[in-house]
Each structure stands twice: as C-alpha cells, then as structure tokens.
C-alpha cells in the first residue's frame, strides 16, 4: 500500500473581499492608488500601505438572465460576480469574461466593471469623483488605442485627477534594486517578455515577446490529462490543472536527460506522482452532475428561495405599515372632528364608515404583527440550520479494533438495506408483468382477500396483505431509503480508500516537466516561435560583446509563471551553453515574482518625482488619451501619426474639400 504518496486536490476556494475602510487620511490627502492590472491577477492598494488590499483574478462572471417567467416577479438578473466574489469558478466557467486579449486590455466594459469593484471595495465614498492619482501598470509597448480608452475611462468615468502608467516588469526590476543594467525575463500569464535595460535605459527595439504563458501551460496540462484519462473528463477541471501547475510542476535542468529517465519502469514506479480525484458514489443518483455539484446547487437554490421569501415578506410588511399609517392618520382626522375631510378621504380609500375604518386598522395591525413574527421565525430557522450538530448516531468508536468492527457492521447494514431495496424493486417490476411468479402470487393474495370472511382484520398482520399487493413504493421502503442515504454518507466519510478510489487517481510522470518545458519549446504546442533560451541568444546578438557581458551578468527573472522550481538553474545552464567559453553570467530571481511589480509601483508613487510623471486632466485634454509621460519604468511613447490620406481621392486645389476637413476637425 502506498497511500501516503497519494496527493489530494486542495480545490482552493476564494474568499469574497471585504469593503475596506476609507479613512479620512486617505480621503483628504489624495493618496495615490496603485493598480497592478495584470492579465492573471489584479492587485490594488494605497501608496502608504505595506501590502495590496485587494488581490483577485481579473475575471468577471456574467450570469445569463433567469428565463423562468412563471412567477409574477420582475425578471431578476443575478448580479455580476467579479474577482473574489466568484467562489466556485468551475460553476461559472462558461460565463467568465476578462478584459484582456492576450496581455492587452481591449474589452473596456469589463474593465469598467472591474474598476467599479476596485473603488467600491476600497470604500471610496466621495461624490462624483475618485480623488486620487492612479498608478496603473500596462503591458510592455501597449498599443496607443488601448491606453487611450483606459485614460478615457479613468478621467471621464471616474474623474481622477491624474494617472501614470508603468510596465510591471520594470517596476519589479527597480524594486529588486540590482543595478541599472539587466536582461529582464518576465514570465506572465499570456506572454514572456525579454527586455534589455542598459544603464537605466530600456532598449525597446531589441526587446522580444514570446506569446505563451501560464494560461497556455494550464490549457496544455488540462488537455493532456483529459486525453490521458477520458473517463475523468469532467473531474479534470481547469482549476485543478492550475493547482497541479502551481504546486507540482518544475523545470527540468536537462529535459532530454530527465525524460529518458522516465522510460525506465523502476524509475517511473518510484517517482510517479499520484493525484486523487474526489470520489463520488453515484448509487442513489445517476445524472451527469456529480454529487457535490448537485449538493452545492441545491444549497444555492434553497438560499435564493429563502432570500426571495424574505424580501417578499419585507415588502409586504412595508406596504402594510404604510397603509396602516394612512388609516391611522384618517382616524386622527376623525377624532379631531373634521367630518368633511374624513368623508372625502374615505371615499378615496374605499372605506364605508368609521367602524369599517377601525376594523381595517385592527386587521392591518394583526397582519403586521403576524408578518413580523414570521420574519423572526425565518431568521431563527436560518440560524438553527447553521447550528445543527453533525449526526450523532454515527460517531465511530476511536479504538481502531472497535472501529473496524463498527465499520464492518455499518457495511453489512448498508448491504442488507441495499439487498432489501433491490428485492423490493425486482418484485414490483415483476408484478407489473404478467405470468411471473410475483404477479401470480399477487393475484392469489387478491383472490384470498376477496374470499376472506368477517374475521379479516382481527389480526394486525392481516393488513400487510395490502402492502404486498400494492404496486407503489410503500412507507417501509421510504424509511429504508432514508437510512440508506445516512449509511452511505457515513461510509463515504470513514471508509478507507478502496480499490475504486485507485481508479480515480491521476498519475503524473513526465507531465510536471513537460508542461513548463513549453517555455523553452513552444513547438510542443504547435507554436513556431523560438523558445526562451533561443530568443535570449537571438537578443544577445544585437549588442556589442561588452554589453552582452553586462546583460548576461544580470539576468533578472520575474512574473508569476517564473516560480517553477528549477527555472533559475535551467537558465544558468542555457546561458553557459550560449555564452562564449569562460565568460561569466548570473541569474537573479525576483524576491517576490508576483507582487514585486506592485511594490515597485508603490515606491514609485511615494517618490518625490512622482508628480512630474503624472498625466493630469489638463494633459489628457490637451494631448489626447494615448498620451504618456515617460519615466524610468514606463513604456516609450510614440505619438500615433495621422493616417495617410489617400491623395488620389482628393483633387488638388479644391478649396471646398479642405474647408470641410477643417470643420470636421473641430
């Protein structure tokens, strides 16, 4: 038995973000806000904070509209879930949307929703504007079009005073403070960037981007496992592939050597990783959904129903209270003795007389009282559901021997019940058909019943005859069914891993190395771009030998997908191979590959020079949305040239056309 080697999926769940406090310091001192808008995660925090306040996946789930129009309720569109609101990402996998196309923001409706999420969760409550300068990261050489829309959104939608854009990998580089010359390798969610920086100057024209990143690796692993285990297609989810990638994958030092080791069966048996998929017993339910999914869905439905009911009750209560107030006001008028006004008023409200009014008032009061009681009862019920203790009847004994006996006992009980149920089912099925023994027996009982004399019913057991001829499920089987479910649950919890579980294991052999190897050999995914090492070699060729040496001695790795164990060693080996004999090289890992970009941007925002690098509202209005103030961590700015006007279409010397153009420009 090698149970100790089996890895269980953790199936991480997110925790919804709280709304943070918006303190007066933040509100009135215009503290800059740092947004690292990455295509995997978005990290947000104030420039005076140690850590980002919000870290969430840059995703939104837009549920489809409720199609049931049965109840008279107005169609309730379920709210859009954003970032950490999405508790179970697999339940909404097909409704997920992101504002990113590769590593560039293109879908600004989604971006706006994400911004709403950010600002509302920071608790910002100023009227009509977000009064904070913003530092926002953007992809390396972002198209101007995308920046223009982003500025438009920030300045016009949120009324921010100023913004500064920077590149995540450059912020991360300066945060780690490793000199001013380096070759940055930024492994992101969709891309790998290799950016040379010499004496603090980004050599953008020689930077290169490999269009492959964490998401492609997740996709590759997901697909590989699904093809390897077609039986478990539904259990192998994207999130689980992501979990495997983050926790069990690593970069091989020498890929070829590594995989040839695996050809040996002994090595395979000794090193294979076994992952246990959750086991579901599908004896009582046989739909395509797994039991856990069904349970979750049911819970959600119940919750929603409760919410709807509570809302209805409250609405009714409010309505009643309003009417009561009206009636009471009338009552007062009457007491004041103003009969004319009273008469007029009761005619409007369809009340016949003063007595009628009094009766209605007491009616209303009773209804309100009842409703209040109901609301209180519902609240109590919710609490009591939460506080229900686990079934005490099936607490297993702690002593191992006793436990074994108890377990066997439970198993026999379960089997007996199962057998009984099966027998009953078979009998009922047989009874329906003619010419079976069961049907004949049934006929015999019926005829005996007909012939029974007056003493039928003297014994209680006589009545069992009806049970035995009934074609419907009887109450006995219902009770049995309940017991069966109980036992099933207990067994599922305490049963040691049986052979059935082993069928639901995923064996990972080469896969944990094969997937990160995509960075070095994109061809495995049919991508014909050069891999990481080859692109680095290509890059070096654009520099003088002295510069090459400087760069090779400071290769800096950052980005979320760079956290594979072994990547540093692999790059060192590749550098040894591509660099001239006896030359030196060094690889430096970022201290925190995923968060250093945010820390770097925060330091930038708290520096004295920050204000000089801000694009203000005036700049925006004057220079247009694509405008960018360059700084040490920014993209280079090239103003978009005016489109080429096809002169053949504009006859020269036609003054009217030129005039028209001027008007259009305004």
């Amino acid at each position: 038995m090698d149970e100790e080697n089996v890895i269980i999926f953790k199936d991480y769940k997110t925790v919804p973000d709280v709304v943070h406090e918006y303190s007066p310091t933040l509100k009135f001192e215009h503290i800059p806000l740092i947004i690292d808008n990455g295509s995997y995660q978005c990290r947000v925090g104030w420039s005076i904070s140690e850590e980002p306040h919000l870290i969430f996946k840059n995703l939104i789930a837009r549920p489809r509209k409720d199609r049931c129009k049965k109840d008279a309720e107005p169609p309730v569109t379920p709210p859009i879930q954003i970032g950490n609101d999405i508790i179970n990402i697999e339940a909404v996998r097909f409704q997920l949307k992101t504002q990113f196309d590769k590593n560039v923001v293109t879908h600004f409706e989604v971006q706006e929703q994400v911004c709403d999420y950010i600002f509302s969760h920071l608790g910002i409550d100023s009227e009509g504007a977000v009064n904070h300068p913003i530092v926002m990261t953007e992809a390396f050489v972002t198209p101007n079009y995308s920046r223009q829309l982003m500025s438009e959104l920030l300045f016009e939608g949120y009324g921010i005073p100023a913004v500064s854009y920077g590149v995540d990998s450059l912020f991360s580089f300066y945060k780690n403070d490793i000199g001013d010359t380096a070759l940055l390798v930024n492994c992101g969610y969709h891309t790998i960037h290799i950016i040379p920086v010499i004496k603090g100057k980004v050599i953008a024209e020689h930077a290169r981007r490999i269009n492959l990143g964490g998401s492609e690796m997740i996709f590759y692993l997901h697909k590989l496992l699904q093809l390897k285990y077609p039986v478990h297609v539904n259990a192998i989810t994207m999130s689980r592939a992501e979990e495997i990638l983050q926790e069990h994958c690593s970069v091989a030092l020498d890929y070829k050597e590594e995989i040839t080791k695996w050809a040996n069966a002994d090595y395979y048996d000794a090193n294979v990783k076994k992952l246990q998929l959750p086991v579901i017993q599908s004896s009582s339910s046989s739909s395509t959904l797994t039991a856990e999914q069904q349970k979750e869905r049911k819970k959600e439905m119940a919750k929603r129903l409760l919410e709807i009911n509570a809302r209805k009750r409250e609405e009714r209560l409010a309505e009643d209270e309003e009417q009561l107030n009206q009636l009471l006001a009338l009552h007062e008028i009457m007491e004041d003795g103003d009969t004319d006004e009273f008469d007029e008023a009761i005619r409007d409200l369809d009340i016949k007389s003063f007595e009628d009014l009094q009766r209605q008032i007491s009616n209303k009061q009773m209804r309100i009282e009842k409703n209040k009681q109901r609301i209180a009862a519902a609240a109590n019920a919710e609490e009591s559901v939460d506080a229900r203790p686990p079934p005490g009847r099936f607490q297993p004994p702690t002593d191992p021997d006793a436990f074994q006996i108890w377990l066997n006992d439970t198993r026999t009980k379960y089997r007996e019940l199962m057998a009984r149920r099966e027998a009953r089912r078979a009998r009922r099925a047989a009874m329906v058909r003619r010419r079976t023994a069961a049907a004949a027996e049934r006929m015999r009982v019926i005829s005996r019943l007909a012939a029974a004399g007056d003493d039928f019913g003297n014994h209680d057991s006589d009545w069992d005859a009806y049970k035995s001829i009934s074609r419907e499920a009887d109450s006995d089987s219902e009770a049995d069914g309940e017991r069966l479910v109980e036992l099933e649950e207990v067994l599922r919890e305490y049963e040691p891993i049986p052979a059935k579980h082993r069928e639901r294991q995923l064996h990972l052999a080469i896969e944990p190395f094969r997937v990160p190897e995509l960075m070095f050999q994109p061809s495995m995914l049919g991508n014909l771009e050069a891999g990481l090492a080859e692109t680095m070699e290509y890059l070096f060729k654009h520099f003088t030998p002295e510069e090459q040496l400087l760069l090779a001695n400071n290769v800096f790795i950052t980005g979320g997908s760079s956290q594979f164990p072994g990547l540093k060693e692999r790059l060192e080996r590749e550098l040894l191979e591509m660099r001239p004999f006896k030359s030196t090289h060094k690889v430096v890992m970022a201290k925190n590959p995923s968060l250093d970009a945010w820390y770097g941007a925060r330091d930038f925002a708290s520096s004295n020079a920050f204000e000089n690098f801000c694009i203000t509202k005036e700049d925006y209005l004057e220079m247009g949305g694509e405008y960018l103030k360059e700084h040490y961590a920014s993209n280079p700015y090239f103003k978009s040239p005016a489109p080429i006007v096809d002169t053949t279409l504009v006859p020269a010397g036609d003054s009217n056309v030129i005039k028209e153009e001027v008007i259009v420009d305004c």
């Binding site: 569109t77 709210p79 196309d101 560039v104 293109t106 600004f108 409706e109 706006e112 929703q113 709403d116 600002f119 509302s120 910002i124 409550d125 100023s126 009227e127 009509g128 504007a129 992809a139 198209p143 101007n144 079009y145 829309l149 438009e152 959104l153 016009e156 939608g157 949120y158 009324g159 953008a204 024209e205 930077a207 290169r208 981007r209 490999i210 269009n211 590759y220 697909k223 590989l224 093809l227 077609p230 995989i259 040839t260 695996w262 050809a263 919410e307 052999a509 061809s523 495995m524 049919g526 771009e529 050069a530 080859e534 692109t535 290509y538 280079p636 090239f638 040239p641 489109p643 080429i644």
Partner: protein, 115 residues
Amino acid sequence: MSNELEKYYCFKRENKFIVKSGSKKRMWRSLKQILTADRALPWPNEAVLYYSINAPPTFKPIKKYSDISGLPAPYMDRHSKLYFSNAEEFATVRNLPMDITAGYLQLRGANTIVG
C-alpha cells in the same frame, strides 16, 4: 435583489462603457484588429510597436516527443500521424479512438492539412 442599488456608485460620474442590459452592445476591437489598424499608420522608424517585438521563429529543428507519454519519439504512426516511442506505445496508439487521436494532434497543432 440589490441589483439596481449595486449599479449606482457615488464616486462615479457616469457609466462610461457599461451599457444597460437590452440596449445595443458596443463591439470592442480585438487585439488583432487594433494591431492591424496600427500597421496601417505611417510610424516613424524608431517607433517600437506591439507587433514589432514578436519573438523570432525558431531555427532549431523541432524535437519530436511521444504524444501519449512525452518520451522522445523516433517513430510516427502512419495511420493516425501520432508520434510514439516504442512498440508498447504503438499498440496503445493503434487502439486509441478517433477523438483522442484528433485531440492529441490538435494539441500539438498538427491537425491542419497545410504545414
């Protein structure tokens, strides 16, 4: 529930890009369209643009790995076009159903007729 309330944020001037459900949705340009539009412009020579920093195509021979196990694969099954590394794997490859072989080929980007 609080859908209407949630839509309103006090810090916001207006909904810039969010449209009401039901009204016409704005079509967003994909990155590819943005890049095509960028290409059409007369950029100065020194400008570095998104499409100009793509990694070069690989010049190294593409290594072949067994589709099913990932081992180095010197052979290809002529029938399914899958790579395999030894006789044992060959037997497996031959028994794979169509959808699985198609899946492997697609994953490797080898399912297109051209190239």
